[in-house]
Amino acid sequence: MGRAILLDKVNIPGIQTFEVYRAHGGYTSAAKGLREMTPAQVQQEVIKSGLRGRGGAGFPTGLKWSFLDRKSDKPRYLVCNADESEPGTFKDRYLMEHLPHLLIEGLTLSSYALGVKTCYIYIRGEFRYLVGILENAIREAKKNNYLGEKILGTDFSLEIYVHPGAGAYICGEETALLESLEGKRGNPRIKPPFPAYKGLYNCPTVVNNVETLATVGPVITMGGDAYAKLGMGKSTGTKLMSACGNINKPGVYEVELGLPVEEFIYSDEYCGGIKNGRMLKAVIPGGSSVPILPADLILNTARGDSRLLTYESLAEGGFESGSMLGSGGFIVYDEDACIVRNTWNLTRFYRHESCGQCSPCREGTGWMEKVLYRIEHGKGRMSDIDLLVRVAKNIEGNTICPLGDAAAWPVASAIRHFRKEFEEHIKC
């Protein structure tokens, strides 16, 4: 099943270079967009495609673009969010490493549609080795007039800059990212105002994920309607899934949305089943921030339908029995995995990465971590389980940015589905 439209050329030797990328049809969508279409038409195709943000929230990209304040006489910015730091998510890294020109092409088209003349790629600090790859691609594109002044002889000019972060997960949150890009401490901003009105340097700004922006090229090549035919319902097109954990074939896979989760886990085309013939125990389907689901609920919904890789199907059942597609970081646990230890480990991450601005997240992440540490190290009390539920509830929804929710959900869902395991930890 499925059709690769992002990774179809990834195995061609030398595809990182401009010549090979160009020789295999690269930059034809940029040429088509800039020469034959108006910016509004490019945006219209993106709206028609139904493309949704691949950074985690799944917000419709065309709609986000339409919010951009076009009345302001200030410059507009496009910022590509390449901060990818969510545990379990490693798709943007793969894309940038192997197909840098696909991203550059998407940035060119998107900037054209948005009337942007300056675009930033904010890249995770630990991805330093990718900075050279991207900057090289930018240089090549410029030399060939696909970037820079008067691109392809049109009136459109664009500069792209790569800006590495300093190693903070929170700088992936779009407003913290903008603060960091401005050279400040990466504290998320209080919204409103939204970046579409007051973003980078108080100017109208669009922030999109790497994969989202890389998809714009193929959308223009095939047309929004054709893209929307891929996938299922409101989950159009294809999605990069980064699969890891106790599976035979960890890696980055492009799937057409609508693929059954069962097929994704067990088919040799994708994860190739659970390692060493063990049983599946649980899955975190969309990066560490989304709720964990036990085997029965990840394969089938509570209503008994088979669970599909779509935004809707994974969310079915809400917080009781569902989860989220998130960023597509698919973490698989086999029967030997310890949910308590895993939950403690994730909480350790969120405690370390909380920016500390707002009280529920600053204090709550630390508190949950300490309690989980105790449980994991044999010093738990039975009352700690309900305490954790209560602390998670007091964080959720009461914070400045969604990191608070992201820290609360893994704990709440682990206890909801694996309470027994916590109790056993405490008893023995």
């Binding site: 903070a168 929170i170 401490r185 209080i190 409103p192 405690r351 370390h352 990465e353 909380s354 920016c355 500390g356 601005q357 707002c358 009280s359 529920p360 600053r362 204090e363 709550g364 992440t365 630390g366 508190w367 300490k370 309690v371 105790r374 009352s383 305490l387 509830k393 007091n394 929804g397 009461n398 914070t399 400045i400």
Partner: protein, 322 residues
């Protein structure tokens, strides 16, 4: 003008007014507690989450409720908005949760803390705190650092409200301190331990809602409720010279800005007035400062005194002023 209803009380406000400001215009019980917002400091608020309220109706145009609780200090009023504070059980629950978060790492050393009696966190805990603690983990402790001869920093009591950082940034010429690190290890510190020495740095003491920043020239000299807060003024080239002189007999124990009913100073004052003018002859005493009736400071009935007289708090004798 926009119409907003808070806890069933309607008020008209100007565009751009926040829910908290509107509630303050109404006054009384509907005002949410604010631990980080400070109307005189730009960009303050949004951080402590003690001011969360429920928006049950977004506006006349879009009546949908807002799904999450919102920080009233940083949410502008929309026309036709309906807000619940004391009426919403959800808000009371969440606020209880916020107070608990603020306290789990707080030393609760009120008995030896100079802020006791005028501490916003004490008030908040009294109003919304739980009687028991569920934490058994040790509380966070920071190594003490010296930030100069005038201001004492006790980081263990800090609630990370950012007010002092904003005050230093907005009132003084060069900010020499800020927030370091992140998450629950985040701390207020001076950059490379430089002393904070600047004409208006003392205002950080007044904006600090807790006992994290206190006046070194006053430290441990008296509990605030033994003192008589008196409005006083002097001619000053740097600030308005309008202060509160905290007195015991004829002696001035400390000088602070004049705080209003929401705990905010009316005007920021300079360090010379605050730290150097401790002689009664430096000041014209205007009369007793009005302090909330609920405050322990009011309980020594200093207000009975007439203008121009000074009361001795323990014996309760009045003596005429020279």
């Amino acid at each position: 003008m926009l119409k907003v209803i808070i806890d069933n009380i309607e008020i008209q406000v100007e565009e751009g007014t926040t829910i908290l400001q509107a509630a303050r215009m109404i006054g009384g019980k509907v005002v949410p507690p604010a631990m980080c917002y400070y109307s005189k400091l730009k960009d303050s608020g949004g951080k402590c989450r003690s001011c969360l309220v429920k928006v049950v109706k977004g506006s006349a145009k879009d009546p949908r409720p807002v799904p999450k609780l919102v920080a009233s200090c940083s949410t502008p009023v929309q026309d036709g908005m309906v807000v619940e504070n004391t009426l919403s059980a959800e808000v009371q629950e969440a606020r209880k949760g916020v107070v608990e978060m603020l306290l789990i790492n707080h030393p609760l050393d009120c008995p030896v803390c100079d802020q006791a009696g005028e501490c916003d966190l004490q008030d908040l805990s009294f109003g919304f705190g739980m009687e028991e603690t569920e934490t058994i983990e040790p509380r966070r402790e920071y190594p003490g650092i010296d930030i100069g001869p005038l201001i004492k920093l006790n980081m263990n009591r800090c609630i990370h409200c950012y007010r002092c950082v904003l005050a230093a940034e907005q009132l003084t010429k060069k900010r020499a301190h800020g927030m370091l690190y992140r998450g629950d290890t985040m701390e207020i510190s001076t950059f490379i331990q430089t002393a904070i020495d600047n004409d208006f740095s003392g205002n950080m003491i007044d904006v600090c809602p807790v006992g994290a920043l206190t006046d070194r020239t006053f430290r441990f000299r008296s509990r605030v409720w033994f003192l008589n807060p008196m409005d006083a003024r002097r001619e000053c080239g740097k600030c308005s010279g309008k202060v509160v002189a905290w007195m015991f007999g004829k002696e001035i124990y400390r000088i602070t800005g004049r705080k209003d009913q929401f705990g905010e100073v009316e005007e920021f004052i300079c360090n010379e007035c605050r730290f150097e003018k401790k002689d009664i002859n430096d000041w014209v005493i205007e009369g007793p400062r009005k302090i909330k009736r609920q405050s322990v400071i009011s309980s020594n009935h200093y207000e009975q005194m007439k203008k121009g007289s000074i009361i001795h708090p323990i014996e309760g004798t009045t003596e005429p002023q020279e």
